[in-house]
Point group: D3
Chain length 329, copies 6
């Protein structure tokens, strides 16, 4: 859009398909020491642009027989069974990829070599060039203290099967980069943990503080007698209906949650703006892919604390970085 080409609904399934192929090949080469499962990271999108190009969604929906939604349960099981059959041998044939693609063709349809769009014929490569997408324009950023800051490292999570690098920034600097991007008209791709209790189906994502007496409401006396677990449970029911005091998130808290499996890398969304509530608390506006659900029609309000605590990585345009940060790349 920024480039004045109009809006495009690009085919997510084309990217998924291409990444299945790459993942299968790497799974074979590592003799199975890889997470061959559905799911991946933003790197699956960015790092395959140059090699595979993109196609409009209408050209490759991945839907067969008039189906309206993707249901990949059987496909994932047969692909997994197929791949285990490949690595369970002392040698590997030269035809296995053909069979693998045969399965993908059956479940997702054949890949388009070329297609016509708005009256012009494209290949996926030429369509990417037409859109002026360049994978080198984007950068993945994270913030974890078990690796040195201001270096690139592959984030150690199961979905990063691509072993793609992220640039490691201190927490405050990562948050500043998000704000800078939003202030300058860029959106930020946001990988975060939505299985967290504070990520409510009611369009709110916060980190309520179970130790704050303010969160007790009128039951302060009783509150103090509750165990931490009971207070946590009590708060959970209030998310989305009451204003709750949040924790102040530090680099250490964020690291601990990653170290002890409390934070998992499980969903990708888009941050596209900033808002403040009646008390002046800062929230990020998040577009989720779950459709127009929830009280805000598919938009989530993620508090600053939540984004600090639960962001596994972000991807943004390099031009959107603050200058000082950009220099450190």
């Amino acid at each position: 859009m920024r480039k004045g080409k109009g809006t495009f609904d690009l085919s997510e399934m084309y990217i998924v398909r291409r990444n299945y192929e790459d993942k299968a090949e790497k799974y074979v080469r590592t003799h199975g020491n890889l997470n061959f499962a559905p799911g991946g990271s933003f790197a699956d999108v960015i790092e395959t642009l140059d090699q595979y190009g993109v196609v409009p969604d209408e050209v490759y929906t991945g839907l067969l027989d008039g189906a309206e939604r993707h249901d990949h349960g059987e496909m994932d099981k047969v692909l997994s069974g197929y791949m285990k059959g490949i690595i369970g041998n002392n040698s590997v044939s030269t035809v296995w990829k053909r069979g693998f693609n045969g399965i993908l063709d059956a479940y997702l349809g054949a890949k388009p070599d070329s297609f016509t769009y708005n009256g012009k014929t494209y290949t996926p490569q030429s369509f990417k060039e037409f859109l002026e997408l360049d994978q080198n324009d984007y950068i993945s950023i994270t913030s974890f203290s078990h690796q040195p800051f201001y270096t690139y490292f592959p984030l150690e999570v199961p979905d990063n099967w691509r072993w793609a690098n992220s640039f490691n920034l201190p927490l405050d600097e990562m948050m500043a980069a998000i704000d800078h991007a939003l202030m300058n008209g860029y959106t930020v791709a946001w990988a975060s943990d939505v299985s967290e209790g504070g990520f409510s189906r009611q369009g709110i994502a916060i980190v309520p503080d179970e130790n704050a007496v303010e969160n007790a409401g009128t039951d302060q006396a009783k509150w103090l007698g509750l165990s931490e677990r009971e207070r946590r449970s009590s708060i959970a029911g209030k998310v989305g209906s009451e204003v709750l005091k949040e924790k102040t998130i530090t680099q250490e808290m964020r690291q601990l949650a990653y170290d002890n499996y409390q934070t998992t890398d499980d969903h990708g969304m888009h941050i596209y703006g900033i808002a403040k509530d009646q008390n002046g608390n800062k929230f990020y506006l998040v577009k989720n892919s779950w459709g127009e659900t929830g009280p805000y029609n598919g938009v989530w309000y993620a508090s600053e604390a939540f984004v600090r605590y639960k962001t596994t990585s972000i991807v943004m345009h390099k031009d959107a970085l603050p200058k000082a940060t950009a220099k450190k790349l």
Copy 2:
């Protein structure tokens, strides 16, 4: 040949391929309660003639990339992994056969819809008709006493995944049928147990009698002191080099060997003639598919005792049956 159409090398792989498809479908319908493994029975050939036709070997070799021999290890593992992925769900998609065929296409090549042979164009069906092959002309015969004689029943062995019927004859009558066919210019397809000790790689298949003193040679005194196991082991080394006295095989012995897993249904061959050795013992001439190996260049001499003992089933042209037997069908 009998029909004066010349000799034809028909594609075994075309039949194998078709049977993989059938077996997969039945495996799904029985929710996995079927032997989904390589291997099958003569029924796989006979009972698919009408539905799938036949093609010449050169039209469908099942060999890719200039390979000279079939090595289906990887294919069997990926097919098995794929199928387990199908039946491990509460519902089955409408596209799974397409993916299954995608795998078969990758490993065996695509099935021919039509082909040119000796300057004429055929479909597998029309080629079958040209050859005047008719699946109703053939009959499968067996001889086991746990089912009533003179009835059809599906032989209960793992490879009979097709649940195909055989006609059950008393042992002597089955042997008479073989002889009658051979005497009248028909060959007999023979399913037998070649993992048996007496089936020697030296082109001889017999049932030596470990209790016969005659088999001791000049060591008769020592022979009597040996345990039955030792005598059996001693004889095994003499098969193919000495003339050994064989056991007299009864219906009961044959049944017991089937009941206790000593007889397994593991290989299909062709009986095409009868011969006698210097002592007048009767042998059947067997053409094996193992190539021109052994002292008789791919021919085995199977003793009458062996054929009585170790035949799991035979398939022959109905016209080749003795009249009396044919009437009982």
Copy 3:
């Protein structure tokens, strides 16, 4: 009853017991490629009549120690463990059936060789003859398009471990056979899918149409906005309490439900009559073995659509067939 011999409560457990023995033997012969689990088909009753006879229920209840109901959980586990021990060897002993029967005797009691009933002594065979039961009088009928009509084939479902044949009729002709039988005083044994949503515990079995606006009741506007899944869920709650419009079932719909595991062969019942509701819709009266439960005291009303959709097979007396159909056997 038809034969004027009075009513008899025959021992189901005697048949179950005999079938356990047969299933175990076949499981061994197929080296485990068989569904060795509780459950079976009507063939287990019909096809064993000649060989094993029948006994009155009071003669073989299969209940020990004054128990009132069958609880075969432990028995099924030990039988399964025992059988796996048998097939996991290269050879099979001659005594394993004795041990298998030892287990069955322990859990079900010993089989009666002879017994006294109403003052006369019978064997199971002579009792069967006294009842003038003849297994050749009965026929199993099914209706699926993946096999040619008007031929016999073994229905490919896990419970058909016996590989018993059914005669394949077009759907309308199968339905006509049911009606003809009922109209002529015969009942029909009915194998159907009772885990289906429309088979309500409230004595009703229908196939509600989630696409019919009529089923929305007064909420038609809202109905159209619901997804198919939501409409299905909404209807499910109305079965048994509202009159719902049903789907019109074709041969293709019936086949698809079988192909994709939606239809499973899980229960045997008896159809004994026909009824119409206030709107003239046709229902079959079904006697279930679940006791006098539900609003109709153990009777189910199965709609014509349900019977068309969810019948896996029926067994009836051959005399009960329409003449035209009987000729095609």
Copy 4:
């Protein structure tokens, strides 16, 4: 024999059978935390005398159908499968032992309640009394330093499923007890490790010293250049054909071999005498149950070092103990 009643061949299989029953019951009670496998200890013989009695071998051979030797492979697998079926439930029936005995009856024959022997009728109990066998007359002795000496403890080995106690003596005192028994006309039941390298099939059991230059023979120079492993391997080939210098076995060496799984409790034999070789080395005469094999027709010569090193436990008559030791019981 000591009691002047003549010699008796008692039924080992009767004891095995009774112990299978006990082991199964204990396996159930411990919810499977027990070694349910063939094999046991002398306690299985001694501690069941009072409860089950004994029978002559001819009365209960455990052999069916004219078999000449025991082959319990299938039986052990089906028993194991059966038992796993029992403990895999939340409750246990009251009939499982009946089924278990049904299996044992099938594979070993039914237990005798009473029998006629030399013209008199006995029960197993009365036959035990006739033989004047009393389980309290016997004691099991062991020698391990991880438990206090002069106390009873259950030897912690897999085969001691009975948790039977042994009396723990210092090594020298255990050896003195063996000698004292033999000198006074008693034999000693000996549980030892026959999978040890020094236990030769040639009738010799020793503990050769791989560090002794004397064992090098004429190759002393080369010997020193070999690794310990090579020397050990070189010696192994000489056992039974050369006189080899043995290690001096201490309590610590013996304990270490038990701690690190080098010593396993795998066979029971009988020591019945003492002999010396030409160099005055002391050997124990051992009667093995392997039949009349080896150069000494079923007799093994076990060196003093071997018995010190590899005895897991011994059982002897209490009257055979040295007085000083007997007092400490």
Copy 5:
């Protein structure tokens, strides 16, 4: 307390830690045929007193990093994984216990060799001596009829990995021993089954009689029409709120519940007194370790019937035994 030394909160975790070490060693020696899992019996406390001594709770809490409660889930999994690694080899190293203790140190903290308590320095041994605890003063008692009464035997339950003996008394005599102890100022350690339906979280443990019409309340007519299962379910909801008639427990009922897994040995508590309800029914006062929960602040009222039915074993001071019983030890 009885010894006038004041009250002491002894470290449960010190005993748990020591028992983990013992259990691991025995698990290795039995090659894994032992219940290596959390849980044990009173013997774990009593039988380790002499060898390991005791320490005050404050000296070894087993809590790290300021934690307030024990959460051993991860520890139990890593210990189990570690131990399986040990026994899965043909030999065992000399260092494995060091690694095992390294894990325990990590999760529970290091064991104290000595410590200062109330200004004096103790070792665990000297502290035990200071407390005048002597393991020989205590006895474990049980009551099951599958073993002879008035003998010691190791109770066959999974948690008795120590194979510790209990003295077997007839039920009435065991109950008399409990009463005698309580009347004389001793408490009784009580191992019982708290997963039983009648053991209510409401501080009551009884054995309601589902066959007693008295338990129907005002619904007697309906009660008779219910199945036994329904009556049982109906009663379950009344435990703790209504006075219910209990069953009369016999030795046979108690044995049956143990035989069929209805009784499991799953929790240890303390009986410290006797009370009667308004109807004169006798209850035992039980102190549970679940904290001050329930209506009676951590105290349970266990009916005489419950204690008769569901006691797996008790441990008491030998001085607390009735004279007549003490003589039989």
Copy 6:
């Protein structure tokens, strides 16, 4: 040595130990999607220099109790069992690394924090600095065509659990780099496939050509009649004793062998020189870590063809690169 500091035997076990810790942490972070097994790559040495330093071999031998060689079988099993216990939970404790190090301490000894060497005290870091080792001086090089040349990528093999990058050169350029390094006094660390048939235990590593008639010796006629497999087998026996004609290795052949699992990354060695045989064929001198075995006392002669074919990666000092190649980094 090049730096004039004398020769040092650095502790391999110190590096192994440190890498176990890193691998365990990454295994946890990837939730087990990593090859947690013994083995690794040169990156494990190079990339940990800065973080962990180095120590002399005598300071950390990893050998306990006077052992002479490493036997890590039990350690690897317990580590693996321990780690599976960690990742099998929803959360991870903060103490698991302490337990992991407790195991490593038990099996390898504690890590030295500081040590005295030649009279001076060092930490691992200061010792590394004293040796002037710098991890940035070294580069890993590989040559595979499935990734673009002249870029860095993590070689996709199971042992590259560190996801370390190698620089991808065309085959000829990689070979030139090896030669350039050797010619300039540098050695080259060489990761190669020693499970290959041509890697003989006789100190020779070649790629014999089974299609070359020259390799037939005097049996040329017979040679032509052999199958390819037979010729390969025939040649295998001649490696090390005859001069054999080798294949000419191309980039494609090398890639295929990697793709089909013929080449595996299984051993690290050192190339330290170049030699020519009597026919002018070029061989690389290789120092193996298998001790002074083979006819050349621990030296292998690897032919140019073998190094071209079977090199998975090399590590060398950046100064040793040809200028033209160095510029492309």
